[in-house]
Symmetry: C2
C-alpha cells in the first residue's frame, strides 16, 4: 500500500521550494523503493485566487484522507486587503485536523555557528525543541470582537488541552535529555496559573524528567543569553509563536528549519517555519532545505521510512560539506542548482 501525501504548495516561494522537496523525495524514493503518491491541492492565497477561500472543502477533505501533509508557505502582500486572508486557512486546517502539537527543533549545526546572530561561544551546542500548543488559546477563543471603539480577544484553555500538550512534551523529553521548561506568565494570567497546576500534576508521572518554570519574558531573554540551557520548552499557542521564531533566528539559518504539527490521530502536517518570502520569490534565491528537511521529518515520523530519510539527510550533508549552499547560508547556489546537487548525491551513492 503506497503512502498518500497531500501537497499544499502555497504562495510566492512556496511552489518553488515544494518543487525542490518533491524532486528530492522522488530521487530518494526511487533509490530506496519507497512507494508513495502525491495529491496536490490549492491552499492559502493561491486557493483564495482560485476559489475565494483559503481552505477549500476539497483541500480539507484531501488533507484529512492523506497519510501526511506537506505544506510550503502561504500568505503575502497580494492578499493584505482580501476579505479572507491566507492565514485563516492555516488556522482552519490546524483546527479541523486537531493538530494540537507544533514541534519546532532549534539546533545549531557547528558549520552554521558563524551565521548565528549570537556570539559563537553562546550559541555553540544549542539543541532544543519547542512544543507549542497549536489549536487553542487566544488564536481560537471566543468572544472575539472588532468594533470601531473597542476590540476583544479571549485566551481560553481547557485543562484537557493543557494536559495533552504537556504530555506530548514530557514524552519527547524522555527521548532527549529529560529536561522540560514550562513557559507561561503565571504572575499575571489565569490561564498560565492553570498551566502551572496541571504541569505539576503531569510532571509527577515523569519522575525522570527535570522540570523548571519560566515566565515568557524571562524565557525570551534566556533563549538569547543561554540557549544551551534548554532541552524541551512547552508553551501555549501565542507564546510559542513568538518564542519559536525568536529561537529559529539564533540558528542563523531560518531557511533550513522544518516543523511538524501533530494531532491525536490522523495525518501530521510538515512545513518550513519561515514565511512565503515575497521579496525573493521568482529570483531562485529561496533555500530549498527547509522543505527538504520537512520531507525528511515526514519520512521519519509519519512513514518510519528511515532508509529514505537517511538517504536524503546524507545527500544534504555532503552537498553542504562541498560548499554548495544558497545565499542565506553565504553561498551562491540557486534553489535549482542546490536541489540538483542534492539529487546528484542521492544518485551517485546508489
Amino acid at each position: 500500500m503506497s503512502a498518500t501525501i497531500a501537497v499544499l504548495p502555497g504562495d510566492y516561494i512556496g511552489p518553488e521550494i515544494m518543487q525542490a522537496g518533491l524532486a528530492v523525495l522522488k530521487a530518494a524514493a526511487a533509490a530506496t523503493n519507497f512507494d508513495y503518491q502525491l495529491k496536490a491541492y490549492p491552499f492559502g492565497g493561491a486557493a483564495i485566487d482560485a476559489t475565494g477561500e483559503p481552505l477549500p472543502a476539497t483541500t480539507l477533505k484531501g488533507a484529512q484522507a492523506a497519510d501526511a501533509i506537506l505544506l510550503a508557505a502561504i500568505g503575502g502582500p497580494k492578499w493584505d486587503h482580501a476579505t479572507q486572508r491566507p492565514e485563516a486557512g492555516l488556522l482552519a486546517i490546524r483546527k479541523a485536523l486537531g493538530l494540537f502539537a507544533n514541534i519546532r527543533p532549534t539546533q545549531v549545526l557547528p558549520a552554521l555557528v558563524p551565521r548565528s546572530p549570537l556570539k559563537d561561544n553562546i550559541v555553540s551546542g544549542t539543541d532544543f525543541v519547542i512544543v507549542r500548543e497549536l489549536t487553542s488559546g487566544i488564536y481560537f477563543g471566543e468572544p472575539r470582537e472588532l468594533a470601531a471603539d473597542h476590540a476583544i480577544d479571549t485566551m481560553v484553555y481547557q485543562a484537557s488541552e493543557i494536559e495533552r500538550i504537556l504530555r506530548a512534551g514530557f514524552e519527547l523529553a524522555q527521548t532527549r535529555r529529560n529536561h522540560v521548561t514550562v513557559v507561561d506568565k503565571a504572575n499575571v494570567l489565569a490561564t498560565s496559573k492553570l498551566w502551572r497546576q496541571i504541569a505539576a500534576q503531569v510532571a509527577s508521572d515523569y519522575p525522570t524528567v527535570t522540570v523548571d518554570y519560566e515566565y515568557v519574558d524571562a524565557a525570551a531573554m534566556k533563549i538569547i543569553q543561554q540557549p544551551t540551557h534548554f532541552d524541551v520548552i512547552i508553551t501555549e499557542n501565542l507564546f510559542g509563536d513568538i518564542l519559536s521564531d525568536e529561537a529559529a533566528t539564533i540558528t542563523g539559518s531560518l531557511g533550513t528549519i522544518p516543523s511538524e504539527s501533530r494531532g491525536i490521530s490522523g495525518p501530521s502536517l510538515y512545513e518550513p517555519i519561515h514565511g512565503s518570502a515575497p521579496d525573493i520569490a521568482g529570483t531562485g534565491k529561496a533555500d530549498p532545505l527547509s522543505m527538504i528537511n520537512s520531507v525528511i521529518l515526514m519520512l521519519r515520523n509519519s512513514f518510519q521510512a528511515q532508509a529514505t530519510a537517511d538517504k536524503i539527510a546524507h545527500a544534504v550533508a555532503a552537498t553542504l560539506a562541498a560548499g554548495i549552499m544558497t545565499p542565506d547560508l553565504g553561498g551562491t547556489a540557486t534553489t535549482e542548482s542546490m536541489t540538483s546537487a542534492i539529487i546528484e548525491q542521492i544518485k551517485t551513492k546508489e
Copy 2:
C-alpha cells in the same frame, strides 16, 4: 518648593540599589542645589510582610501625592505561595496612577558591545525605544477565570487607549529618528486589527514620521537579526513585556537599564527593568547603575533638572571609563564601591 519623591525600595536587591541611587542623588543635588524630599513607603513583598498587601493604601496615597516615584524591584520566591503576590502591587499601582506608557530605551554603548550576546557587527549602533502600553490588554481584561477544568483571560482594548499610546510613541519618534514600528498580531487578533486601523489614522497626523508594521513573531526575530533597524517600537502590554525584555538582553547590560512609566498627568514612575535578583541579594554584586540611571531619567523628565542629571551622568561615564564596574559588566566592584566611586567623581568635579 522642593520636589517630593516617593521611594519604594522593594525586595531582595531592591533596597540595596535604592540606597545607591539615593546616595548618588544626594551628592549630585548638593553639588547643584537641587532641592527635594524623600518619602519611603513599603511596596511589593516587603509590604505584604508588613501589612498583608502589596500596595497598602498609604503607599498608594503617598505615590499619588508625590512629584515622581522611584521603585527598585519587587517579588521573589519568598512570596511564591502567598495569597497576594508582590506583582499584584505593581499592576495595581500602574492602573491606579494611569501609567499607560512604559518607555524602555535599548541602547548599546560602544564600550559594552563585547558584552552583548549578539555578534558585535550586528549589535553595534543599536539605539531604539520600546513604548509599551501598560494599563490595559490581557493584563487587566475581564472576564478572568480560573477553574479546575478551564481558565480564561481576556485581551480588551478601547480605541482611546490605543490612540493615546500611539500618540505618545509618535511624539517620541519626532524627537528621535522619525521612525515608528507598530508591532501587533493583526493576522490573528481582533485587538491587533484595531491597533492597525487606529495607527493608520494617527500616522496621518505625523507626516514626517515613517511607519512600518511588524507581526510580533517577526519583530522578535528582527530584534536579534537587525536591531539597528528600529527607532521607536509601539506595542500592546503583553507583546511589550516580552519584546522589551528580549531587547534589554541584547544590550548585554540588563543591570544598567532604567525605565519610565508615564501617565496623562500625575507623577511618573522610574524603575530598573530587571527583577529583584534573589540569587545575588546581600552579596554586594548588584549593579547600582539601573537605579542610578532611573534617577537620571527622573531628574530629566519629571524635574527638568538637567544640571543635576548631567552631573550624575558624567560621573557614571568617568567611573566606567576608569574600569570600575560590577561583575555583570565584567568588573570586580561591589554595589557599594561602585557607588562610592561615582560619588567621589561628583564631588571632585564640583
